[in-house]
């Protein structure tokens, strides 16, 4: 279907003021990572024995790969549900996913205390098939490669390697299929991780074995939201034609996912009789309420025929949903996580700066590719 739409680099100056600002943030992160590898995790992070996972894992991997689900849900929509009209959205979404996943994988290595044993994950003799982490690790690694292959046609187009592109497109459907399968697996496994954490997870998030369902629904919602968010930002920031008319088509799916999420989430809380904890006035209770409000805003916006027509309300709904999905994962993995024995955790300034730097690198990469490579649809393609 790709030949129906034409893509083109948007051009323009690469080195702009925002570009320099983001580069500075990225540089700070790189310097701090050098410190981390020279003096160990303790020099940079606030991690301890009770909280071996901090913001690097929970933001860069758990939330970050959720944000990177745009490529996944669009592949699902365009190729599995055969909705070809959304094709112009695929390339930028794939690009964001590629950055999200490969930097998430990098984040995993950075966060590993004994990173030099990392390669053992791929050694069949050392693999523990009862481990959820192995599933997540292998899946994320494989998906990063698949994303790269899915993105390869863009590179071939840029360098006019038409022969290569033709060859690749003949077998691309295999990788697209794998690219839909893998995130379904590891995104739900993120929920299985919570099951494995057992009683350390607050009752508001430690559901009756439904966390994988909640994890995959939030992943899909995050994926659709990031497509709307990224498209809106490109319209405003890069002066691209509005994609609101395409985004509107996604609303039905998002709304259905939201309804499903609320039914499962609240039904589970009622079934287990722990909903009262939400009004306990504790940090966890209040964060739960905030999470619910953030999920409710998009449901209200998307249910109103009037608001849905306006791109700015779509953006509000998308941002609210992004924050809701991120907060759900933060709540389950960090804020509602209590290992006992008096352990507490809050990210250090340096940890935060590294995560901010990684986001900066993602945006820098995105800007570089949309300006130099044929990622975004040509301005006249759908005018």
């Amino acid at each position: 279907m790709s030949h129906h739409h034409e893509h083109a680099p948007i051009g323009g100056r690469l080195i702009t003021l925002p570009f320099l600002f983001l580069s500075a943030l990225a540089l700070i992160a790189v310097v701090l990572l050098v410190e981390r590898f020279m003096y160990g995790l303790g020099a940079v992070t606030n991690l301890n024995d009770g909280f071996p996972w901090g913001i690097w894992v929970v933001y860069d991997i758990v939330v970050g790969t959720g944000f990177a689900c745009g490529g996944y849900v669009l592949a699902l929509t365009v190729y599995i549900a055969n909705k070809g009209k959304y094709h112009p959205l695929v390339r930028p979404a794939l690009l964001a996913s590629l950055f999200g996943y490969s930097l998430g994988g990098l984040g995993a290595i950075v966060d590993m205390g004994r990173y030099w044993n990392f390669y053992q994950m791929f050694n069949p003799a050392q693999q523990n098939f009862n481990s959820v982490m192995l599933e997540v690790g292998l899946c994320v690694a494989a998906y990063s490669i698949v994303l790269f292959i899915e993105f390869l046609p863009v590179i071939f187009e840029k360098f006019r390697a038409d022969e290569w592109k033709k060859k690749l497109e003949k077998i691309l459907f295999i990788f697209i299929a794998i690219g839909v399968l893998l995130p379904t697996m590891h995104q739900s496994s993120l929920g299985s991780l919570l099951i494995a954490m057992g009683g350390k997870v607050h009752p508001l998030w430690q559901s009756a074995y439904l966390m994988p369902v909640l994890a995959i629904t939030t992943a899909m919602m995050l994926g659709f939201s990031i497509v709307i968010f990224e498209g809106s930002m490109a319209t405003v920031g890069l002066r691209q034609p509005s994609e609101t008319h395409l985004h509107r088509g996604l609303i039905k799916v998002i709304r259905a996912l939201l309804v499903l999420f609320f039914i499962v989430r609240l039904g589970d809380l009622l079934y287990r009789g722990v909903l009262g904890a939400a009004f306990s006035g504790t940090l966890q209770g209040n964060m739960f309420l905030l999470e619910m409000v953030l999920f409710l805003i998009p449901l209200v916006v998307l249910s109103s025929a009037n608001l849905v027509r306006q791109g700015r309300f779509l953006l509000i709904a998308a941002v609210s949903l992004l924050l809701a999905g991120a907060l759900y994962r933060f709540n389950a993995f960090l804020i509602g996580f209590d290992p006992g024995a008096g352990y507490i955790y809050f990210p250090s300034v340096k940890e935060l700066l590294v995560s901010i730097g990684i986001v900066a690198i993602e945006i820098l990469g995105y800007l570089f590719f949309v300006k130099m490579f044929p990622v975004l649809p040509k301005a006249h393609a759908h005018a």
Binding site: N46, D49, T235, S242, I316, F346, I356
Partner: protein, 376 residues
Amino acid sequence: MNNNELQQVAERLGVSRRTFMKFCTGVAATLGLSAGAGVQMAHAIANPRRPAVIWLSAQECTGCTESLLRANHPSLEHLILDLVSLDYHETLSVPAGHAAEEAKQHSMKENWGKYVLVVDGSIPMKDGGIYCKVAGKPIVDHVREAAEGAAAIISIGSCAAWGGVPSAGPNPTEATPVDKVLTDKTVVNIPGCPPNPYNFLSTVLHLVTFGTLPELDHLNRPKFAYGRLIHENCERRPHFDAGRFALEFGDEGHKQGFCLYKLGCKGPETYANCPAVEFGDVGGGAWPVGVGHPCFGCTEQGVGFEKGIHQLADVITVTPPTTFPGIAEPVGQGVTPGAAALLGAVGGAVLGATAVAVKQLGKAEASEQSDNDSQS
């Protein structure tokens, strides 16, 4: 052999068929054999022709017999006595005096070359062996006589296996282990004071079922039971590696269940399966180290009854480092003003960027709307 016969054995033993099969599977597991071996064992026990056992007691305290009888399962003493035909045992025999001696002679003649000889206690060799006599004869003569027609010889307990308590300095009776008396025979050693009854039962059941002895190490101890150091399987091992030690009985570390190495635990130089099999069939860490007492190395020659109870063990595998990580792990610090400010700034940037984009989108759409209106 069918299930009906297994049922009959179970009834004879006064236990359910299920309990009986569980026991056999448990023994097979202790030996490191497959579950199928448990079924084979069940059938071997069900065989009406049970092997005869002659049990001789030399310089001993009857502790080994006690530990076999005092196993927690009410059915176990039935099993012990029912899986073999115990034809002679000084403590357990019904006949006494000449009648007991006669029964032994009768059984030996009847089962010549087929019976199992079990010896507990060490053999006194000084002054012609006169320090332990049974039926007017030194015990060493009884042992040599019975060994002649034995299919297999088992030394149970540390006394029989390597000398044990009676051989401790100055060893006034010249207490000698059985295999030093019967130098021309294979003697299986099951040391321990007392040994775990399962190590004995498993060895005998292996013999009964397969007709062969389990694999033995260089000291003729069954490898399944004495193949690894206590230290290697100890539930307190992580405390050793982390440098968390009890330094006195009842101190904070002792109460927390820390490693007992510094109280003289001999686990690092003693080979036995105590941490895995435990004692008394009650589970839950019911073995010396599990209940807070250092291992004193009862199974190991040169350790038990020889080294001081609170003397430090020689660590055979990994020598402990001279420095250890601290016992008080940092539990983390709360939010710092800098981190809170940074996080706030990120939140502000996200909301600010969204607000600006929302505004501009609104503007763009308004103009687009008017464009469309003018077109149509």
